[in-house]
Symmetry: D2
Subunit: 344 residues, 4 copies
């Protein structure tokens, strides 16, 4: 079985394993206060334009999301997010478990727009009973979204502007950030992301690392005592250097960007093969996730050889499915799949 169902099927980029081995018997301080974390932090800061940011390393995405969000909100506040957002559907209510409502905004493509944020904000404050309602306190977006789509620089700028105007911190979930940055449709650098958000994270788990997410916090209000929150929520790895070593490796000689780009290119090859075959796409994704709509019998046929994710039934006889590439996807696997698509 050749697997395309997600982007965390393999271990880590070999350079990372090599560094782990080389450093294995070194003795370092725990909890992220080692030289490897320091070096990785510096590299990330530089890529963010030397901006005045703070960088922390956590283990996983769900953990990162609820740690950042609960650090930013007061108890009566909630977080605005697309109804399709990971925090709204796929984290077992982790944000609510910290006491906060996810204020879901409708979304067809995984994105939310600046005017949706403004309307939700105004709807709250213009309601004379607003004290009986959850106050919007933060905005959460994903780049790329859970549907593979991307915010353009203009769209992110607009979100940034409305958030700044309304004093709503903007938090960007970058679990797959590399695939967004390096997409042929991508229009932003890490520096842009850093400048246009209050906090974001650079996903490692899905982009070459064994695990790990690097949180970059620009807004000074969100930084205060952040390490307490990491610890309280179980995200402070005893051997924190494991995170430092991984991110240091990923940001040495552009590895993170290079492997992301390759995965995107393989995904676009798949996309073109689906389109050429006449299939429609559920979402217009130029990143590592592709969502073709296939006849159900073709799905059955492909399942004999490949694993991929069922997404949703589209009509009687057709379903959207998801194929993912990653830093680890083998070119020959994509070649073979394209041949099999053509042969359907």
């Amino acid at each position: 079985m050749i697997r395309f169902e997600c982007d965390y099927l393999e271990g880590a980029h070999p350079f990372i394993l090599k560094r782990l081995e080389e450093t294995n018997f070194e003795q370092t301080a725990g909890y992220g206060e080692d030289p490897y974390c320091a070096a990785a932090r510096e590299k990330i800061k530089e890529l963010c334009g030397g901006a005045d940011v703070e960088v922390h390393f956590l283990v996983g995405g769900t953990q990162t999301n609820f740690t950042v969000i609960s650090a930013a909100l007061r108890p009566h506040q909630g977080v605005l997010a697309a109804s399709t957002g990971h925090i709204n559907v796929h984290e077992t209510g982790a944000v609510e478990a910290t006491g906060h409502k996810v204020l879901a905004l409708p979304s067809e493509d995984g994105k939310i727009r600046a005017d949706q944020v403004r309307k939700a904000y105004e709807a709250h404050w213009n309601d004379k009973d607003h004290e009986h309602m959850v106050q919007p306190g933060m905005v959460y977006i994903s780049q790329p979204t859970e549907n593979g789509t991307l915010y353009s620089k203009e769209e992110l700028q607009a979100l940034h502007d409305v958030c700044e105007e309304l004093s709503l911190p903007l938090f960007l979930d970058g679990a797959r950030l590399g695939y967004g940055l390096m997409s042929e449709a991508g229009t932003m650098t890490l520096r842009d992301i850093a400048e246009l958000t209050d906090a974001f994270y650079i996903g490692g788990t899905k982009v070459g690392a064994l695990f790990g997410e690097a949180v970059v916090i620009g807004n000074p209000l969100l930084r205060k005592d952040f390490r307490y929150f990491i610890k309280q929520h179980g995200g402070m790895l005893a051997k924190g250097r494991l995170l430092g070593i991984q991110f240091d490796t990923l940001f040495t000689e552009g590895l993170y960007f290079e492997i992301s780009k390759r995965a995107d290119e393989l995904a676009m090859r798949l996309r073109r093969a689906f389109v050429k075959k006449g299939y429609e796409l559920r979402y217009d994704s130029c990143t590592n996730q592709q969502f073709p709509i296939l006849p159900d019998d073709h799905i059955e046929k492909l399942k004999e050889k490949y694993s991929f994710a069922f997404w949703e039934a589209v009509d009687d006889g057709h379903s959207a499915v998801r194929f993912c590439t990653s830093w680890a996807t083998k070119e020959e696997a994509v070649d073979g799949l394209i041949r099999d698509i053509e042969a359907l």
Copy 2:
């Protein structure tokens, strides 16, 4: 200004004030362990058919909702409710503050249907990633709903049956229960409500009391240690007898039912006046809340003399508004309002 904007504008039924005065210098044990609470409990149990139920008294509706819901759910579970449900929109995220997501189901009229519950349940359990999602753990409904509408006995029976089948406790918010029971469209008794739900409450605040809600718990699993939850959530009144005295009075010689009936009748007179005038109704309510859709200039005209609640803009030039009657509404106020409606 003659007020119709809500059903908690005045104090309490005079019989209640009288009983408070008569008993004022008696010394009783605190925290609901006094003879008045005991007497009120017995009366309520009897009205519930002598069923094997437990009765507790709390101070307010929001408090009652989050106390019952958080007592029933495990941390990874959420509560299914209409998107319009009070817990979803007007309690400042009180349920989320106890760690639980409100799983909102679409609703046009404030009600949810048995098949919506079943579909939500099946959608959860049929999703192979269900452990990444909030597990449905309870169903919350309101009777009457926030829109004044009523579940019929058949509808409640259907909800009961699906909840029982799927092991989802069914909780009914009866903040305005009296107005539902005594509506000309009402088809159920307190006993029916007790038999068809796992827990519900009998609203006092909006139906004759100064304050207070009587929670009736049928499901033994929800009863265990319930007084701890009341205390932890600030609902255990030191002078608990104040609640006992009020409910004992309300359930002496049918006072609760009598005052509810009168309020419903006044509301139906208003409804008929609006309909006769040619206005449409936003919701088909036969209870104490009426939601006519009026031309905006008529609204302005009425506002000179009456207070009532803006509900929502319907189209350019028309808005839905809410008029409430209550146990305390004066007949002459309704007479006058009807004359003014006719004169619009």
Copy 3:
């Protein structure tokens, strides 16, 4: 049975019932936005020296404690309190239920001292692993304490000074505040309390009201959005005017102070009777709670006619018990009890 076991045995001062009756059919806005709340707020502000404070009304003490504390703390912070503090022992973990640890400091008499606060603060910040520990974020004290003892003005000033220096808001639980203010050992006015704390509350439940606590918030940081917190925690009474009417009455012509003084005087008569009889006192209380240590057979004897609270076994054959007076205690009941003490 003549009851002395607590200070919430009866209803309310007759003036309050009278005002409730007089205003019963007036129509007012809900949720504390009525003229009675406004009037009560003004009276309280004036008594606090016209200080720049915000006044809110909640229903009960536990509710008030966790609402204020959770509004003040960030998620990684805890509240310093005497180990005997109400929040640490008698609120079913309500503070923890909002996510915060009570950082208990040892106390023999119910009080904590400024240097204990400083030491706890320094112990935290001097520990190199402080990010692994709960950060002290607030100080909670009771006046009078749960043991009837009182902070002197000097002691409160010292607490205030250390709290200000260390940026720890100081919160004073005044469930029995009247009995503290009017004690023969009392040295402070409401204005002193307002000036020396960041927030405190004036207890109504135990001092003449049916129920209700008036929170006075001086620190602007604690005020922001406070009504959301009240609502979220179930403390926002629909008929909020009930609280306004009660506090307005209590602060009309000094009623609150007058009835507190009388209760204290009755308690001191009891104290003197116990001392005269040769009994020791468990705590040196000059307020409405008295804690004599009695031979167990004398306790049994008194129990035939009086109810009072067991406090703790002191040695083989002796126990401390608690007798409370209140605004409602009858003089003849105290006379009789003193005769019976003398006759033991």
Copy 4:
């Protein structure tokens, strides 16, 4: 600088790195549903006597503690623990952040006794106001304790018996379990631990793994839906196989036990060197943590060459410090340290 300050200074046992490398490009399902996790689970179950247990893998100790504890408790319950317990002092209030009080029991050596549990339980239930107090709902212990001490089999049996009698689940934190099992003072096997507790975990982070804790749940009540809790609390590693591979390696040919034994032996050599030199020990530890009490000038001298942890000041001029060995400690480091101790 030669480091002895903790037991998570290095990476992982080389066998683990080797397995990670060998399996790196295999494609497996995520979230712990891969063959490596399955294999590791089987090995652990077998070592637990083939008992009817469930095994889950989490990332870190704090995370494991609050996940298990919050899964076991209802909202009004707390967890009994030694005042020195990790959950009470070094997890930034993580248990409280899930809403539960840690009910601290005094402890001199890090252990609690069966009769302390019984007394705390009885104190709760015998108090007539028990509904106003946090109900004991679980017992937490550490083996070895944070002080390096060990429960004997008899002590654990006694705790098990009282917990069973009182229906309090017994949870054992085994962050350093290997060092306890293989101590020369150890008297139990994994099977004993499994039989005498309701849930426990086998620490990987401090015993040879990069990270990871294996939770073993015997009590069926604690198992229900446990994976939801892992996910909600951020403990469900996307590449779950990393945990499976590590524990599978550790439990292949007894590696876990072998490396634990070696670390204990090195620690005992240190202990004997301190004792021989005439130093007292703060705790009687036969595990990998040693707590000698040294003159402060000797501490300064040793600090020139070694890092170790300050524990507490003992008297004017002496302090207790902590030296840890681990699976990775080099024999020559211990040899050198012993020579330097002798030379003090």
